[in-house]
């Protein structure tokens, strides 16, 4: 059992990466083309198979309607959420409403749950690892942004199950990165992990004690801020230039928009690497008279930095929040670790250095560090004795709805996990046989400003006069950061029946059905 292979998977907004420990060393597993980073893109092909990864990314332009990307922005969200509305406006693929306010992606006449699309990315990662070691891989540790709420974590875990993986643990990306750096050694070192990904920003403040204890003191994040926002700025800059020149708005056409997006992403990389980007896209669109028009522009570093400085500043607001929660100041941080592709940009790394008054560490590739950490954790869980312990925290306050649209906190954010809290509820009507509790996460006392996790209905307790029956509800946040709710009759200790009556999640049947379908779906790149 313990000699089975468990991998670590970084399931990113833009890119994913798989790693495993071989001969005591965590290493990135490349695919047969030597690629170590794989685009989190799934292209549904005509023959029913799917193409996943960098090859699929090329299809965003040629097979745009059926090529799905950035699903991490949609995972675990409600259909009515702002993020989903925003995605509907810009994504070339079709996003539709599923059962329970859930989100579905429609491709070639078939509807897929978001977890199912993510599962296809995980399936590809699993296949890459299997090809490399020649045996079946069944177990994995999957990472999520530290600031992910329960719905998003649950949906990620479901994605793992749909992909046929036993998800040993969901761990936070910044914590995984700290593990990969093997920080510690120096006693009671304090580290900040600055994780700017494609779609999310997270910062975690850790204290690394002796004997391998990684204590997360606090975490903060913004799930609406990432490298994609940098691309958006460049897109607008380029589109404005083009519009001035030809009086045509590239943003109005989904095809042009995709080409523009790709050009912008490349410009961002170039300006970061060379200090200047020459943008040249031949025939990006046609003039009314049929003449093909080219997009030609130059972007220098100064212009770029000016464009994105407010985004960088926004990350420091989040850092302020994390430091404050940890009761530390920026200069008390001993080490800063950069995670995520956008931290390669000098404007980001330099600003981070200024903010923390220390040169950030960057000796591990910021695109690979999270997967490496996940592999270290996967390996530790499979071996009998773990040598390090991740003492993580919950990023959001767990709340219950009270009356009149208000909420009450149950477990504060930044509480160490696993943790549980018990609350007593008394019946309010004679003969009451059900108690309903709405559970949510967020920092607002107003219900509508928090994220709804679910409505639980308890039954099967004694029936009595009002105020006579007390049930004790236990709220638990486990090591994955996932919330569990159970209840018992306070007097008899008898467990009540718990039913989840409202949730965005998938039912067991949905998961099983998706799992079967995913198992049957062929990965086009592996077909040969």
């Amino acid at each position: 059992m313990s000699d089975e292979i468990a991998v670590g998977i970084d399931l990113g907004t833009s890119n994913s990466c798989v790693s495993m420990v071989l001969d005591g060393m965590a290493q990135i597993v490349p695919n047969e083309w030597g690629e170590r980073i794989h685009a989190s893109v799934v292209s549904f092909l005509e023959d029913g198979s799917v193409l996943v990864g960098n090859e699929a990314k090329r299809n965003i332009i040629t097979n745009s309607e059926f090529t799905v990307y950035s699903t991490k922005r949609l995972i675990g969200r409600y259909f009515f959420s702002d993020e989903v509305k925003k995605a509907q406006a810009v994504m070339p693929y079709e996003i539709v409403e599923g059962p329970n306010n859930g989100v579905r992606v429609k491709a070639r006449g078939q509807e897929y749950a978001v977890s199912e699309v993510s599962a296809l990315v995980l399936k590809e990662m699993k296949a890459v690892a299997e090809r490399y070691v020649g045996v079946e891989v069944k177990k994995a540790v999957v990472t999520v942004p530290a600031f992910f709420n329960d719905n998003q974590r649950q949906a990620t875990k479901d994605a793992g199950r749909i992909a046929g993986l036993d998800v040993l643990r969901i761990i936070n990306e910044p914590t995984a990165a700290a593990l990969a750096y093997g920080l510690g050694g120096v006693e009671n070192q304090r580290a900040a992990i600055y994780d700017l990904g494609g779609g999310t920003f997270d910062v975690s403040i850790l204290e690394i004690g002796d004997e391998g204890v990684f204590e997360v003191l606090s975490t903060a994040g913004d799930t609406y801020l990432g490298g994609d926002d940098f691309d958006d700025r460049i897109m607008n800059y380029l589109a404005d230039i083009f519009q001035e020149q030809y009086n045509l708005d590239l943003r109005q056409n989904k095809y042009c928009l995709q080409v523009l997006k790709e050009a912008s992403e490349q410009a961002k990389i170039d300006v970061g690497r060379y200090g200047k980007a020459e943008v040249y896209v031949e025939g990006i669109c046609q003039a009314e008279d049929g003449q093909a028009l080219d997009l030609v522009a130059t972007l220098d570093e100064e212009t770029f930095n000016g464009m994105v400085m407010d985004l960088v500043q926004r990350t420091f607001k989040v850092c302020d929040e994390a430091l404050q929660a940890a009761r530390l100041t920026a200069n008390e941080i001993d080490a800063v670790v950069l995670v995520g592709g956008p931290t390669r940009l000098p404007v980001v790394s330099t600003s981070v250095g200024h903010y923390f008054q220390t040169e950030p560490l960057s000796n591990v590739d910021p695109d690979e560090v999270v997967a490496l950490g996940a592999a270290v954790q996967a390996d530790a869980l499979c071996r009998a004795d773990a040598e390090h312990f991740l003492l993580d925290v919950t990023p959001l306050t767990l709340r219950i709805a009270t009356v009149g649209g208000y909420t009450e906190p149950i477990i504060d954010k930044n509480s160490p996990i696993p943790v549980e809290r018990t609350r007593s509820f008394t019946t309010s009507r004679d003969g009451q046989d059900k108690v309903r509790i709405k559970v949510m996460q967020g920092e607002s006392s107003r219900e509508e400003e928090c994220e709804m996790l679910g409505q639980f209905e308890f039954s099967g307790f004694r029936i009595g006069y009002r105020g006579e029956v007390t049930i004790e509800v236990t709220f638990e946040i486990d090591t994955n950061g996932i919330v569990n709710v159970t209840a018992a009759d306070a007097e008899t200790g008898q467990r009540t029946t718990t039913r989840l009556t409202l949730s965005s999640g998938l039912s067991e049947e949905d998961i099983e059905e998706s799992r079967k379908r995913t198992e049957e779906t062929e990965l086009a790149s592996r077909a040969a």
């Binding site: 059992m1 313990s2 040993l168 004690g209 004997e211 391998g212 204890v213 204590e215 530790a380 869980l381 499979c382 071996r383 009998a384 004795d385 773990a386 312990f389 991740l390 003492l391 504060d412 509480s415 160490p416 996990i417 696993p418 943790v419 549980e420 809290r421 018990t422 609350r423 638990e476 090591t479």
Partner: protein, 177 residues
């Protein structure tokens, strides 16, 4: 990997967990320093963290460890916070110890109420009141009276301010006699 003695001890502690206070759970004294609290949390994490029991065969062992460890994190969460710790200490050393071994929402509410009983609900009133206390201490009754009147302007219903003002007026009346 885990010897039998450890398993037996863990079972005993898991059975007793609802009778232990947070200091007992972390195996520390009630006057432990913040450093000692953290060290105890790390020590207990090393022996009880769920990762350590991930591949354990015995479900019972896993459950016992998790049960005790969840209480360890709960204890740490309360004891690392100055205010919560002070309130908790008063709780467990009071007459209702048995029912207050876990920091409940009740304790939290009482702790918050305690905060509200601070002199004054508004910042300017509190500031004027603090000034008045110092002035009274120095025997500057006239100045203190003015400060208290200012404080009462912000919070006309504050009993404490009112009683202090009366005290000042008495003193001033005494002085002029």
């Amino acid at each position: 990997m885990h010897d039998q003695q450890f398993e037996v001890e863990l079972e005993v502690i898991a059975g007793l967990i609802d009778d232990l206070d947070y200091f007992q759970v972390l195996k520390i004294e009630q006057d432990a320093t913040p450093g000692q609290i953290k060290a105890a949390y790390y020590r207990e994490s090393r022996s009880l963290h769920p990762d350590k029991f991930f591949s354990a065969e015995s479900e019972e062992l896993k459950n016992n460890a998790l049960k005790v460890y969840k209480r360890v994190t709960e204890a740490y969460m309360v004891l690392k916070d100055h205010q919560k710790r002070a309130k908790y200490l008063a709780d467990i050393n009071g007459p209702d110890r048995a029912s207050k071994l876990r920091f409940s929402e009740e304790s939290e509410r009482e702790q918050k109420q305690g905060k509200e009983e601070e002199p004054g609900k508004t910042a300017p009133a509190r500031q004027s009141y603090r000034q008045a206390v110092l002035q009274m201490h120095d025997g500057q009754w006239d100045k203190a009276r003015r400060s208290l009147k200012t404080a009462l302007m912000y919070e006309p219903d504050n009993e404490l301010f009112r009683s202090k003002l009366e005290e000042c007026q008495e003193r001033l009346a005494e002085g002029s006699r």
